[in-house]
Symmetry: C2
Subunit: 269 residues, 2 copies
């Protein structure tokens, strides 16, 4: 299998995200290896040896996506027996001409605690946890968005992703069969109607997810799931709550959709 | 302020991560706009109009990072009055030569529910939540790693990041003053010593974080924080638990470090 390496003097998260997005275009399998925190000459030489060992073993040049602040480290990697992409420099030199400003490389520039957004994101994670699953209905004033939906429709992981990725304070509140029977919004949500965003899901997928939790229960029955989903969608329409179907969508896609539909501003870029 | 756009037919997460990493090299402020799910000609034309409005208003060409599967949409964006980077194609054409394989572009290739890793990652998030803060000591057999540390040393957000980003099942367990006094590992952790990874933090930073929770309490006092941190580091050394200091590090950095030190395999690339 062809080897792919993601290497950086920081977390290597950018190299992973970019390299994987590029390689996923090709209908091939890769053996992936990430090596973060390559901050010294010694470590870079070790990494070069590791790349060349992989090349020798597979008889093919590994594909290497790397980014370093220190050009001395870049040179060490570039000298290895591999196809190397210094993927950020490729664009930063073009951008330098366009912006008329010299780049100022700095280690741990992204994904570090020094990002302005960092404290926001951690506060948002703590908020999401404290306000998960209707656990706390007193702090909705602070919420950027309140996700609503029936049990197991994807509210919790979406709230956490919104917090970690974008610094958005997302509470979530489960709409129970009792709430749905009443045909009204729960009292605690009524003052915050404008912050509500609904999730829905196909009854079949919901039943499958609930069955993993409580097999063969009434809660997990397709009949019960059909009733709840029909009623929750009626509620969304009645109160003009924007909503999105999570059946075929990942938490990343739901989060991106919620950001786009609500017009919420990211606290992180 | 110079405008920066991140545009895609999917979530635009890759465009954001890559574009931001590149622009953050330049000591300038940018006005960031993300536009995900640009999947039709009509939507692309709207986006083109939005880019050109920004150009007219600021009197400077916006910087646009974009990626589309459909080349017709790429052409619409490329025709706008902006500096456009089709950042993935730049490398995929080079890679095509190297790999000898044609790229097969597909919408929602990354960050979608169809990724092999998706179910793993959601299961890992559910695991992290159910095993947060010592809430559940019966399922450590399933854990990939168990984070330990004193209260508020960063265990919970790190567990969640490991789950969402890498599909790693991370439990976390708070080491209390009682645990530390005993000088022994808590009974529930003893069978899983090889899965433990410790977090530590400077007493000053810990006191600041605890004071936000419970101002002027004994729990938040610098004296108490100093004692706990001294004892927890002694415990790590005594039981040879690898550990990392979170004082100056983000959850992304801690997670990358934990992955590197433990040799855990990512379930997502």
């Amino acid at each position: 299998m062809r080897n792919a390496f993601y290497i950086s003097d920081g977390t290597a998260i950018t190299a992973e995200v970019f390299g994987n997005a590029t390689l996923s275009l090709f209908p091939m399998e890769f053996e992936h290896t990430t090596i973060p925190f390559v901050e010294t000459r010694e470590k870079a030489l070790e990494v070069k040896a590791q790349i060349e060992q992989a090349a020798a073993k597979s008889n093919e040049k590994p594909i290497v996506f790397f980014t370093f602040v220190n050009p001395e480290l870049s040179e060490i990697i570039l000298a290895s027996n591999a196809v190397c992409y210094d993927f950020i420099s490729t664009f930063s030199s073009q951008l330098q001409n366009e912006l008329g400003v010299e780049p100022v490389p700095k280690v741990h520039r992204t994904h570090s605690i020094h990002e302005q957004s960092y404290d926001f994101r951690i506060a948002a994670v703590n908020y999401a946890l404290a306000n998960d699953d209707g656990a706390n209905i007193k702090d909705y004033q602070q919420a950027d968005v309140i996700l609503v939906g029936v049990s197991r429709s994807g509210k919790t992981p979406t709230s956490l992703y919104l917090a970690l990725q974008y610094g958005i304070k997302a509470a979530n509140y489960p709409l129970t069969p009792d709430d749905l029977d009443s045909g009204e919004l729960p009292k605690s949500l009524q003052p915050y109607k404008n912050k509500l965003f609904g999730l829905t899901i196909s009854p079949e997928r919901l039943a499958a997810i609930r069955n993993e939790r409580m097999a063969n229960s009434r809660y997990a029955s397709l009949r019960q799931c059909r009733i709840e989903i029909r009623e929750v969608e009626m509620l969304y329409k009645r109160f003009r709550i924007p909503y999105y179907n999570s059946t075929h969508h990942s938490v990343e896609e739901m989060s991106a959709k919620i950001m786009a539909e609500t017009g919420l501003q990211r606290r992180k870029y």
